[in-house]
């Protein structure tokens, strides 16, 4: 068993276990931390697969951005230390069964499938290459998606501003 194998299993275990804890923990803050670990685990897997750029993006956007956002919102909406109310048992069992069944179905299909990869020469994964492809408009270029995402981020920003920053002069509360 090589070192790389061990690292893989460790990373996989980290991802899955902390992911599982993230969705089951009764303490919301802990949940968030487990999520962070899980995201780290994923990032680690990217690195293990030698996709350094993706690893970087994962760390920056997820760990640096989303997780912080989540934690921030937890602070906004929750008194820390409070236990989360638990879902009723039948729902939990049903959900677990549904999830397991789904997993079984997909895994069966995946394992039964005979994946045939390409035999062409692998493309090198360098940041420079990714960068130039990102802004290219030719066959391998991703300029359009890039613009789409930027529009989306703009829209999301505007939306967030309107929704979250409700003008303070209005009376708060429900109608």
């Amino acid at each position: 068993m090589s070192g790389s194998t061990i690292i893989f299993y460790l990373l996989a275990a980290l991802t899955l276990v902390s992911g599982f804890l993230a969705v089951t923990s009764r303490m919301i803050f802990r949940s968030a931390i487990f999520l962070l670990f899980s995201l780290f685990g994923i990032a680690g897997l990217y690195l293990w697969l030698q996709y350094e750029f993706i690893f970087a993006v994962q760390i920056v956007v997820y760990v640096g951005g989303i997780a912080v956002l989540i934690i921030f919102s937890i602070f906004l909406t929750q008194k820390s230390g409070e236990e989360l109310p638990s879902q009723n048992r039948s729902r939990r069992i049903l959900s677990a069964l549904a999830a397991l069944a789904g997993m079984l179905l997909i895994l069966t299909q995946i394992y039964q499938h005979n994946f045939v990869g390409s035999t062409e020469k692998p493309e090198e994964v360098s940041v420079a290459r990714i960068g130039s492809q990102m802004l290219d408009v030719t066959d391998q270029g991703y300029a359009l998606p890039f613009e789409v995402v930027s529009m989306l981020l703009l829209a999301a920003m505007i939306g967030c501003i309107v929704i979250a920053m409700r003008s303070s002069d209005k009376k708060q509360g429900s109608t």
Partner: protein, 646 residues
């Protein structure tokens, strides 16, 4: 041969008067309505007599045989190249005889009504309906086509309905009119199906062709008709019997007679015209019209005719003895007399030797029209005087109504078959014909004619003698009115006296050849004696008030009660209609429709609603459940398509 236009005018003139009076009667003509109708009818009558005269004496015969002549024909409705309803005018001995009778009696009634109905609110309407009836009846007798006769048959029925219900605000009249129509309609159902049967095998509706095809043993139609049978009876017999059913309904034969007594709710002149002289004999006429088919191809049906005729004659006579409403007595007597005509037809057969019954029947029809119309018109006068139909309210009014009295007596003698009055001759022939063919029929007929004499004179004595005039009318009263009323009486009385001497058999017979009717004096003795016996019995019982009738009544309690209640036939009908048709068919049908059929429709709707309510939980408002359904849906579809859909 006269121009067919003239012949067509005979029925069309009354139609014109109907149209004029119907559309403008109440506005324009008002009291002149009667006059208008009468004048037009006079023309019609003259034409009818003229045509009949010409037919019998000039153009009717070919080689000594009276022919069926089609004087004109228009296609009215075509079904297929063969089958069509053609409105035509057919002249033959019986139709010529009938147009005379109908137009003449109708004219009498028209004249009589001029003053009798004066002052009635719906005077124009009355004449309009009367004209409609006259038109229909004339059309009926002139029909050249099976369906044409059916059409006029129905029209006659409806005009009878309208006239019976003339006093529409009297519940009794309304009921009676309804009953008359429905009962005859029921009979017409048979007639209609009979037409369908006969026309199917003969593939024609034209009388001439139909009779030709259904009597000629070589024709393919007759062969199939004889060969195909239902319930063991050949199709042609079925057809004939069903047609006869129609005739029996209109002619008030047992058991379809129940409408006739009730029909007396109509104005009395109407009863005279429709329910005594003309319409009710349409059934006899119908059988006579199809006589060759009946007798040659379906002799069994003639036996039925005989049976029904005899039974009706006897039953009606018995019932008549017990009734106290004078119009009802007359109605039953009509029924009885038509029974005579019917069985007389029934005992006849096509062919030279045996067709006496046919001529006799027609003869009786002819004479009966006169004296029965006369009786009714007299009854009308009597009723006007007494303001009641009840025999018991009358008595001793011969002084008040001298003319009526004489006329009534003449008519009674005629109907009783006392020579030399008209009834004697025709009834004599009938008895002779039945004697020749069937002794049982003869004996029953003889008895019945005795009973006839009895109840007629019972009527006569109770009205004109019996007891002094009651408080209803004083001696000075006379309701005989003006000449317009008396004139028809006198004319009809003369008719009742003289028509018997017409050598009827010479003109009217089944196959067109003259029938020799020797008046067999020896044979006549019996019937006349029986008639006289009846008269004397009536005189003994009713000339003066005594308690003999009561005794007899008590002595024959059961028979009397049964006869008094018309042998409970009405009750049976009521039972069938109310209990069975209404309660067991109509109500369940209506219920079934509202509850089951409609219920099913509503249930479909309600079920949808209920299901909709039941599944509302699917949309629980919980977004996580939505996601669960989402995943299950996706997974389910995936499973289905991966594993289940090879």
């Amino acid at each position: 041969m006269p121009n067919s236009l003239y012949i067509a005018c005979i029925p069309l003139l009354p139609l014109v008067s109907f149209a004029l009076l119907g559309l403008f009667g109440t506005r324009v003509f008002k009291n002149l309505s009667g006059l208008l109708a009468t004048v037009l009818l006079v023309v019609s009558t003259i034409l009818a007599i003229w045509v009949a005269y010409n037919y019998f004496f000039h153009f009717g015969q070919a080689n000594g045989i009276y022919q069926r002549i089609i004087a004109g024909q228009v296609t009215w409705l075509r079904f297929s190249s063969e089958l069509s309803i053609d409105m035509g005018l057919m002249l033959d001995p019986i139709s010529c005889m009938m147009i005379v009778v109908v137009s003449f009696i109708s004219l009498m009634v028209h004249i009589y009504s001029l003053s009798y109905m004066k002052g009635e609110e719906r005077y124009p309407t009355y004449y309009a309906f009367l004209s409609l009836f006259t038109f229909s009846m004339l059309g009926l007798v002139l029909s050249s086509n099976m369906f044409q006769i059916y059409i006029f048959w129905e029209l006659v029925g409806v005009s009878s309905y309208l006239l019976i219900g003339y006093y529409y605000d009297r519940p009794g009249a309304v009921k009676a009119s309804q009953k008359a129509f429905i009962v005859t309609r029921f009979a017409d159902l048979g007639f209609l199906i009979g037409i369908l049967v006969l026309s199917f095998y003969s593939n024609t509706l034209d009388f001439n062709t139909l009779i030709e095809r259904l009597t000629n043993p070589a024709s393919p139609g007759l062969k199939t008709a004889l060969a195909s049978s239902f319930l063991g009876i050949s199709a042609i017999t079925w057809g004939s019997v069903l047609v006869f059913m129609g005739g029996a309904g209109k002619s008030a034969m047992f058991p379809l007679h129940i409408w006739l007594p009730d029909a007396m709710e109509g104005p009395t002149p109407v009863s005279a015209l429709i329910h005594a002289a003309t319409m009710v004999v349409a059934g006899v006429y119908l059988v006579a019209r199809l006589f060759p088919v009946f007798s040659i191809s379906a002799p069994a049906s003639l036996d039925l005719v005989t049976f029904v005729g005899v039974l009706s004659a006897l039953l009606a006579a018995l019932i008549a003895c017990t009734q106290t409403d004078i119009k009802r007595v007359l109605a039953y007597s009509t029924m009885s007399q038509i029974g005579f005509m019917m069985f007389s037809l029934g005992v006849a057969r096509h062919g030279h030797e045996e067709q006496l019954g046919y001529s006799a029947s027609m003869f009786h029809l002819f004479t009966h029209a006169f004296f029965k119309a006369l009786l009714f018109l007299c009854a009308g006068i009597i009723i006007h005087l007494v303001h009641s139909n009840e025999m018991n309210d009358m008595g001793g009014i011969r002084k008040n109504l001298p003319v009526t009295h004489i006329c009534f007596l003449i008519a009674c003698l005629a109907i009783s078959g006392i020579p030399p009055f008209a009834g004697f001759f025709s009834k004599e022939e009938i008895l002779q014909a039945s004697w020749q063919r069937n002794k049982v029929v003869f004996w029953i007929a003889l008895t019945t004619s005795g009973i006839t004499a009895f109840y007629m004179f019972r009527l006569y004595f109770k009205i004109f003698w019996h007891k002094p005039l009651g408080h209803q009318a004083s001696h000075a009263d006379t309701a005989e009115g003006d000449t317009m009323i008396r004139l028809p009486l006198v004319i009809l009385a003369i008719g009742s006296l003289l028509t018997g001497f017409i050598p009827f058999g010479r003109f009217v017979s089944a196959d067109g050849t003259p029938v020799h009717t020797d008046l067999n004096l020896i044979f006549s003795v019996g019937p006349v004696l029986v008639g006289l016996a009846g008269i004397f019995l009536a005189r003994w019982l009713y000339l003066n008030k005594n308690d003999a009738p009561e005794k007899i009544k008590n002595g024959t309690r059961a028979l009397y009660t049964a006869a008094y209640h018309k042998f409970y036939i009405d009750e049976i009908y009521v039972f069938i209609t109310r209990r069975i048709i209404f309660n067991l068919v109509g109500k369940p049908a209506a219920w079934f429709d509202r509850n089951v059929v409609d219920g099913l429709v509503n249930t479909t709707g309600n079920t949808t609603q209920i299901v909709s309510k039941k599944i509302k939980g699917l949309q629980s408002g919980k977004v996580q459940e939505y996601a669960i359904y989402f995943l299950l849906g996706a997974g389910g579809l995936a499973l289905l398509f991966i594993y289940g859909w090879k």
